[in-house]
Amino acid sequence: MAKFDKSDDVKVILATDCGSTTTKAILIEHVNGEYRLMVRGEAPTTVEAPFEDVTMGVLNAVAEVEELSGRKLLDENGTIISPAKDKVGTDVYISTSSAGGGLQMMVAGVVRSMTAESAERAALGAGAIVMDVIASNDKRLPHQQIERIRHLRPDMILLSGGIDGGTTTHVVEIAELIAAADPRPRLGSSYKLPVIYAGNVGAREPVSEVLTNKVDLKMVDNLRPVLERENLGPAREEIHELFMEHVMAQAPGYKKLMSWADAPIMPTPGAVGLIIQTIAEKYGIEAVGVDIGGATTDVFSVFRPDEKTPVFNRTVSANLGMSYSISNVFAEATLPMVMRWVPFEMDERDLRNRIKNKMIRPTTIPQSMEELIFEQAVAKEALRLAFIQHKNFATVLKGVQQQRTIADAFAQSSSGATIVNMMTLDMLIGSGGVLSHAPRRQQAALMMIDAFLPEGVTRLAVDSIFMMPQLGVLTEVQPEAATEVFEKDCLIHLGSCIAPSGRAKKPGPIMKYTIELPSGTVTGTLQYLEMKKLELGVQENGLPQTARAILEPERGFDCGAGKGNRVETELHGGVIGIVLDGRGRPFDLSTLSEKERVSHLKKWMIELDIYPQEKMQDR
């Protein structure tokens, strides 16, 4: 297939995502002046025995797309037809992959909170699973570090350390440890383990002397050339290159798949990161995306700490998930934290057994309302914990000297403070079974609100069929199509959450609001610990309706313009509408008595229509 030229007139796009269990294909067409998702097909992934050829699963998923769309995409030899003509073929074919365990990396740097953390950010941003971070000050003895490197067998290692012109000793020391470990790649033994060196340029020669004969060494620009700045691009590009060259090329069938595709095959999480960055850039917004799976939870964010340059971060919480890892969520969050979201009592012994049975039989689904409420309570905690990890990771650069004024001393800001700011966050996007398949969309909205506790005005959305990976890689070839389909077909717009930040000692009004809804202007007062819902829907083309709003928080409460200051803004609607959250921030259920907690939970659930009313009143 001829490689795609961005200037080509693209009418039809076929994209696949080869997951570890399912291969998903989507077909996008340009009709009536806009790009829209036509159909979606899926088939089991065929990387493992007995098939051992990923393209079989791809062809099966594409065949389903053919059947559903009536467009002929495969010729008699089972090859994708290109370019498109009438109802035959596609102009572009692209793919992402996380099959075979994705991209597993180990990163190393000199100081854990500085160069090693920058290296970790580079690897995570490229879509890798970071198996371990080795640093001179990670409190392990050298022989323990060597054992660890040898034991883990990563797909590649990213080595950084030192600013340009700085010390060479420590980074060479780490290189010596890697050489002593003599690491072997995870897949195949016919090639040397790729190691990317992205540290002090002054140490290139000694590092090369130590490592050249033992590993396949690549040199790229220093990812932390000066303390004040990260330069992650070159390292990320090299990771993608090596992913294609080594990891993908070793996996069965990928050579063929790579020859079909019009753009490099990207690791799935790397592609999700790209679409979130593209959207944030296009609309000039700050966004957080979360994908909660059975085993892991990924969090992506774009914030603008200096109000200009967007900073992207991704974290993977490897052991927070809803089936394989559900027991770990329970262990990390603890029973009382999960149960605070449940408006009735359950026996601990029985609960623990239920959790473990879900872990050993991950495919079962909640049949009763009680089970659903409990499962969603666990999900809130999994999301909350994953977001805490993300906040701790998405920080301003550590180790940078800051000039302080007397005002800073009162603000208590420090080097390494998180850049995650819930007040400035514009959009929260959820995906993964428990959010996308919640029986009522309100449940997904409340799970996200309770777990992330957005402040001020925040738009909420879910990715209903998880096509963010395909759209991510599409941004590389046709960004216009990617963003259009993302807004209109990928996202299910839930609406907006308005949550004044602040706390009150006693019940009373915390905000007045005037909202010009299409059905008429609504004015009212939000009381402390109250939740309300207002209707504001979606337009015919899938985009949300909008409404002007004036928010007047009481003294001590902030809607984005400072405590007590009036905010005029535009609200976006969705299938739920506007959620007014008067529970204050920081929000802490533990300050309520047991009786108050249960009564408030029920009130909120009834007001937002989260669960059937009779189920709430029964208990």
Binding site: I146, T168, E176, N319, S327, N328, M359, I360, P439
Partner: protein, 375 residues
């Protein structure tokens, strides 16, 4: 009466079991094809490279790293002994010479003139791989390990803890429904693999560890008890390396749940025979289940394989067991399989089936929440 088991989990009276026994690194195989082996026999051995112990000689002797070559007494590859001099900083007066001594027995791994660091490699660590099951060597992978094969009764559990062990089977509960409590654990069970019914209590398991029981195979276990005797919560189901002295294999799930009759009967038939068991479990891609292998001995070896059971999907009449609340553990028979998606009480849309429980009660259950049962 129906006998339950999880789809994909084997419970077989007779099957050819092949176990690959592979070294972590290349080494020496000490048996040959056709050799008969016992579980404790060593079949292959190797040496893992010794631990690396660094020592910063430049710092210690107060010299610049570039001068390392001049002061080193031992070269890369030289054998060293703890306390032996590896470097010497000479002074004008011999009395003031400063030595640097090796801190381990082994060899010199590397000397760096950039960092001044010397890596010493300790002596290789011997590793042995045992046969694990009684059987015959059927294949030798040169320098890597062997395949041991035997005809055996074979059972996979759903969850386990503890590693490989072996012992003589002893059934200690009267039936598959009884609870295995501490009154059933007696001193003479030392070295045995004991079989219980629907649940093992914390007291019973603790007593089993105390008297030296090698393994416990039981229907269910309370997660709270598991946490109590492990001392921590199992977050992710990756087990096998717990060091508690007794291997545990759960056949059905967490909580009190009757051991499948087929499993219990199989164990009963083989009481007094030697079994090899392993609690290692991994519930992820590349799933690994705990197992019990009871190799056939003598004439039993000549008997033919059991025909594979016919498990041709759910149909009306298929006996099933429910594996999630609110009917967890209930046994029944499928009465119909409506094809359109149906709304559950949780309001999820799912494919369901109608079941009649053994008590006569009828219910609608999502298909994802049942297991087929084998007669």
């Amino acid at each position: 009466m129906a006998h339950a088991y999880t789809p994909g989990l084997k419970v077989t009276e007779r099957v050819l079991v092949k176990k690959r026994r592979i070294l972590p690194l290349k080494g020496e195989v000490i048996v040959k094809v056709g050799d008969k082996v016992n579980p404790e026999d060593v079949v292959a051995r190797t040496h893992l490279p010794g631990n690396v112990v660094p020592i910063n000689v430049a710092n210690k002797l107060g010299i610049p790293p570039e001068d390392m070559a001049e002061i080193m007494v031992k070269k890369v590859g030289d054998p060293i002994k703890e306390g032996e001099m590896i470097a010497l900083k000479k002074s004008f007066i011999k009395f003031f010479n400063t030595p640097c001594e090796a801190t381990v027995d082994g060899t010199m791994e590397s000397v760096s003139s950039v960092t001044g660091q010397v890596l010493q490699r300790g002596h290789p660590i011997p590793v042995e791989v045992k046969a694990y099951v009684q059987g015959e060597i059927t294949e030798v992978f040169e320098n890597e390990g062997v395949e041991v094969s035997c005809y055996a009764s074979f059972l996979q559990g759903i969850f386990g803890i503890g590693g490989e062990t072996n012992g003589v089977i002893k059934v200690v509960t009267p039936d598959n429904k009884a609870i295995l409590d501490d009154s059933l654990i007696t001193d003479d069970l030392s070295g045995k693999i004991i079989i219980g019914g629907s649940l093992v209590t914390a007291d019973a398991f603790n007593k089993a560890i105390k008297v030296g029981v090698k393994g416990v195979v039981v229907g269910g276990l309370d997660d709270k008890d598991l946490r109590d005797f492990l001392g921590y919560d199992i977050g992710v189901a990756i087990t096998g390396s717990e060091d508690i002295g007794t291997t545990l294999v759960i056949t059905e799930g967490f909580g009190q749940i009757n051991m499948a009759s087929k499993t219990f009967e199989l164990m009963k038939r083989h009481e007094g025979e030697t079994a090899s068991i392993n609690g290692a479990t991994q519930i992820r891609a590349g799933v690994l289940r705990p197992e019990v292998v009871i190799p056939a001995v003598g004439e039993q070896q000549a008997v033919k394989d059991e025909a594979p059971s016919d498990m041709s999907g759910l149909v009306a009449g298929t006996p099933i067991r429910v594996i999630r609340h609110p009917y967890f553990g209930h046994l029944g028979t499928v009465t119909s399989l409506p094809s359109p998606l149906q709304k559950l009480e949780s309001e999820s849309m799912a494919r369901v089936l109608e079941v009649e429980f053994d008590s006569g009660e009828k219910a609608i259950i999502p298909r994802a929440n049942v297991e087929m049962i084998e007669d």
